[in-house]
């Protein structure tokens, strides 16, 4: 605690705390890799590791359908920062609503809201949030309580990671140098934690912090999988940043794989 931003010399002073320290649920460690990874390499890798197994053998395959006219995605011009402009795409498209070509909805976070009992081991494999091409990759992801989250800057420009949780402790840190990596943890479950970069205001990402590994994010096919479930009855929730949440109840037996469909409608 006393070495956070501390100067050891200041320790000689009489330190009278005011208001006491904040609970340290977002402990951080940052390091700077000597040779920065090529940006695209990391971006194409599955940025979000599959959640660790929950110990069961049942699974739920979720499809997220979309009804109605897909709203046009706003083009984000990258000329606000010359470093961003050098990225392959001159303009990116906003990820607020991404409707896939097969009529499904991308970036829907699906997770077990109720029904997951017991304790689940905290994975030591970190989840990764990468800033590449002045864009967060992935846009929506999940991780477990106290699972390390590696935040990586693959751009040769300043990014700040302004995390705005409400139950966890917020943080706002800068990564001025390409290749910088900061590791953070969230101590309490929370759906969702929003990340924002103030230097590139269009950048946003959402992370769900859960006590268990039963979650998935819908992909380019609108599919998400929740695996490793023990037999039981669960409340599944699907969360979308624009269209809000929906829930369904599903009961699975050991070894069973069920299919569930959510449908979001254009507003």
């Amino acid at each position: 605690m006393c070495q956070r931003y501390g100067m050891s010399l200041l320790a000689v002073l009489v330190v009278i705390g005011c208001g006491g320290g904040q609970p340290q649920d977002a402990a951080a460690k940052t390091d700077r890799t000597a040779s920065p990874e090529p940006a695209m390499h990391l971006a194409q890798a599955p940025a979000q590791a599959q959640p660790a197994s929950g110990g069961g053998s049942a699974a739920v395959n979720v499809t997220v359908q979309f009804e109605g006219a897909a709203p046009a995605r706003t083009k984000i011009k990258m000329d606000a920062d010359p470093v961003c402009r050098q990225q392959p795409a001159a303009a990116m498209e906003s990820e607020e609503v991404v409707v896939n070509s097969n009529g499904t909805l991308k970036n829907v976070f699906v997770y077990v809201k109720d029904g997951a009992t017991g304790t689940f081991p905290t994975p030591s494999t970190p989840a990764t949030l990468e800033q590449s091409g002045c864009w967060y990759r992935p846009h929506v992801f999940g991780l477990q309580v106290n699972q390390p989250l590696d935040i990586v800057n693959s751009d040769a420009t300043l990014h700040n990671i302004n995390a705005k949780p409400t139950t966890n402790t917020p943080f706002n840190i800068a990564q001025p140098v390409k290749g910088m990596k900061t590791t953070k943890k969230f101590a309490k479950p929370e759906v969702m934690v929003k990340f924002k970069c103030n230097v590139h205001p269009w950048m946003s990402a959402y992370a769900a912090v859960l006590t268990h590994p039963f979650f998935g994010v819908s992909d380019e096919q609108g599919a998400a999988a929740v695996i490793g479930l023990p037999a039981g009855t669960y409340t599944l929730e699907a969360w979308h940043e624009t269209y809000g949440t929906q829930t369904q109840t599903v009961t699975v037996a050991d070894g069973e794989t069920k299919s569930v469909a959510f449908t979001f409608t254009a507003q």
């Binding site: 605690m1 006393c2 070495q3 956070r4 931003y5 501390g6 100067m7 050891s8 010399l9 200041l10 000689v12 002073l13 009489v14 330190v15 009278i16 705390g17 005011c18 208001g19 320290g21 904040q22 340290q24 977002a26 951080a28 460690k29 940052t30 390091d31 700077r32 300043l158 302004n162 705005k164 402790t169 943080f171 706002n172 840190i173 800068a174 990564q175 001025p176 140098v177 910088m180 900061t182 924002k196 103030n198 205001p201």
Partner: protein
């Protein structure tokens, strides 16, 4: 004189705790202030070295710092938020915990009773409280370094709304500065009462030494200005913690979220802050002027040139000092007509400053100058204050300030005033009164080497700042190299940084000299400098109660080289016919 009756002589020998820790003796309190604020001066200097590291070599790792500040400098690479904390804390520590306590706390406490012939302050217990509020204030302000989100990072000016959006470190800063302000007000009430009521017989106001005049007027400034700062800070604290909107206007959108504010006014903070902080500039320079005015006659062996005009100039500066605050705000968006009036008042305040400078020169004219260490520092004070003052005219001319405001030109200007002015004045004062405080002389050799290195490398660090400012380098910038018009200033910044490291290292000589002389210095005797004022008639260090008998004062403090006398000094207590003033 009735308040003197609370009997200092004849009391029992006080316990260790009463004598050295919770002492009510103004001399002990002055020395407590001295040690506390010298430590803070050292820490503030360390922070400046980190700032200079980043400015000289932006983004280069400083590996050992990873251990000391793992969040601020991961892998030894400084982060922008840490840089903001560093210059905020450097400014805050230097102003609130080093320069103001050194000038007002140390010299005010130590010198006022001794120089007016009083046994102690009018309110010794209040005086003790005013010191004992300082360590908690330091602790609270610096505690931010150990809290989530780090220390205050909105500059020593803490401009709202930025200062209301930062974490607990900023709140600590606000609370700590309020505590310090309380201490300053208590100290100053005490100084005023003491000077008004406890002067020795014959010590008319116009026989007071200039240092006492300066401290007296400074105390008036503190008493009138600091409550305004305290009120403003309380409003800021409420805005930061309880959701009031004194400084937060409607329609603010922070991080994309519309804030539920209404009715606040961001510029109001600046008016309130500078209504204190411009007088605070004079709080930080008037006592140094007083010290220089005190030391120059002693070592020129000559009366101070224009004693009365010096006193009126101090009053003029202090009075006008309340009418110039918005010259810090020419680009703030206030009405341009205000810009005109504050430009005009600022031009006027240059006149008394000019008078003082010319009078110091007049004091040296046809003197018999002894180049002792305190004298060298006092001369440097005059030479450097000239630069600080003249560069102020650029900033006062608001049309030019539109360009120079918030650039390194201002940083250079304020360092010429606060380091070149205040700090050289402080070094002059410490080296001059050290023999009185501790009964031993400081080493002249070490003192002169320290002076020479400090003088040379201070200029090597600070003078190029004017060039950087003219070249358009903004202050408070973590990495200036990304701006096209600043790519060619890296070399100059490196030269400045190296000079800064040497400047800092040279201060170790002062520390060595200080502690070596404390134990091994040559015994000083009562009046080693052959000076006139009352503190030199009593032994060094003075006993509890200061004077064996209350001194009687017969004339002014600067009667040096009076014709027809064998010795070239004339203590204020020695009756003598002196020639009428020409």
């Amino acid at each position: 004189m009735s308040t003197q009756a609370h009997g200092h002589s004849g009391t029992q020998a006080p316990s260790f705790l009463r004598k050295y820790i919770f002492s009510t003796d103004h001399k002990t309190i002055g020395i407590q202030f001295l040690f506390t604020s010298l430590i803070m001066l050292f820490i503030g200097g360390l922070l400046a070295m980190l700032i200079r590291w980043q400015l000289g070599w932006p983004g280069r790792a400083l590996p050992f710092m990873e251990k000391l500040a793992p969040e601020g400098m991961p892998g030894g690479v400084m982060l922008p938020e840490y840089y903001n904390m560093l210059f905020t804390m450097h400014g805050s520590i230097m102003i609130f915990f080093a320069i103001i306590p050194l000038l007002v706390g140390v010299f005010g406490n130590y010198l006022i009773p001794l120089k007016i012939g009083a046994p102690d302050m009018a309110f010794p217990r209040l005086n003790m409280v005013s010191y004992w509020l300082v360590p908690p204030a330091i602790g609270i302000v610096c505690a931010g370094f150990f809290l989530q989100g780090g220390a205050a990072a909105s500059g020593w000016t803490a401009y709202a709304p930025l200062s209301t959006t930062l974490g607990p470190g900023q709140v600590c800063w606000i609370v700590g500065v309020i505590v310090l302000g309380t201490s300053s007000i208590m100290g100053s009430v005490n100084y005023l009462t003491t000077v008004i009521n406890l002067r020795a017989p014959g010590m008319h106001f116009f026989r007071l030494p200039l240092s006492i005049w300066a401290l007296f007027i400074t105390a008036v400034l503190v008493v009138l200005a600091t409550p305004v700062l305290a009120s403003a800070l309380i409003l800021l604290l409420l805005d930061s913690t309880l959701g009031t909107n004194f400084f937060l206007p409607a329609g603010m959108i922070v991080d994309g979220v519309l804030q539920p504010n209404s009715g606040g006014q961001a510029i109001l903070w600046q008016h309130l802050f500078w209504f204190y902080s411009h007088p605070a500039v004079y709080i930080m320079i008037l006592p140094a002027m007083g010290i220089a005015s005190e030391i120059l006659p002693v070592f020129a062996r000559k009366p101070l040139f224009g004693y009365h005009s010096m006193v009126y100039a101090i009053m003029g500066i202090a009075g006008l000092g309340f009418l110039v605050w918005a010259h810090h705000m020419f680009t703030s968006g206030m009405n341009p007509a205000l810009g005109t009036s504050f430009m005009a008042s600022t031009m006027v305040i240059a006149v008394p400053s000019a008078i003082k400078t010319f009078n110091w020169l007049g004091t040296l004219w046809r003197g018999s100058i002894r180049f002792t260490t305190p004298m060298l520092h006092a001369i440097a004070f005059v030479a450097m204050f000239v630069i600080g003052g003249l560069t102020g005219i650029f900033a006062a001319a608001n049309a030019v300030d539109l360009y120079l405001h918030d650039t390194y030109f201002i940083v250079g200007h304020l360092h010429y005033v606060l380091f070149g002015g205040s700090l050289f004045g402080i070094f002059a004062g410490i080296t001059f009164w050290f023999p009185k405080m501790f009964g031993r002389m400081m080493s002249e050799t070490l003192g002169k080497v320290h002076f020479a290195l400090t003088f040379v490398f201070f200029n090597a660090v600070m003078f190029p700042m004017f060039n950087l400012g003219v070249a358009g380098m903004p202050r408070r910038i973590y990495d200036y190299t990304q701006y096209a018009h600043l790519t060619h200033v890296v070399g100059m910044n490196q030269m400045m940084s190296i000079s800064a490291f040497i400047l800092f290292t040279a201060q170790l000589l002062f520390i060595v000299n200080f502690f070596w002389s404390l134990f091994r210095g040559r015994p000083a005797g009562a009046n080693p400098w052959q000076a006139n004022t009352l503190e030199w008639i009593t032994p060094s260090p003075p006993p509890h109660g200061n004077f064996a008998t209350t001194p009687t004062v017969y004339h002014g403090p600067y009667e040096y080289s009076v014709p027809g006398r064998p010795k070239d000094w004339l203590p204020q207590t020695e009756p003598a016919a002196i020639p009428s003033h020409s």
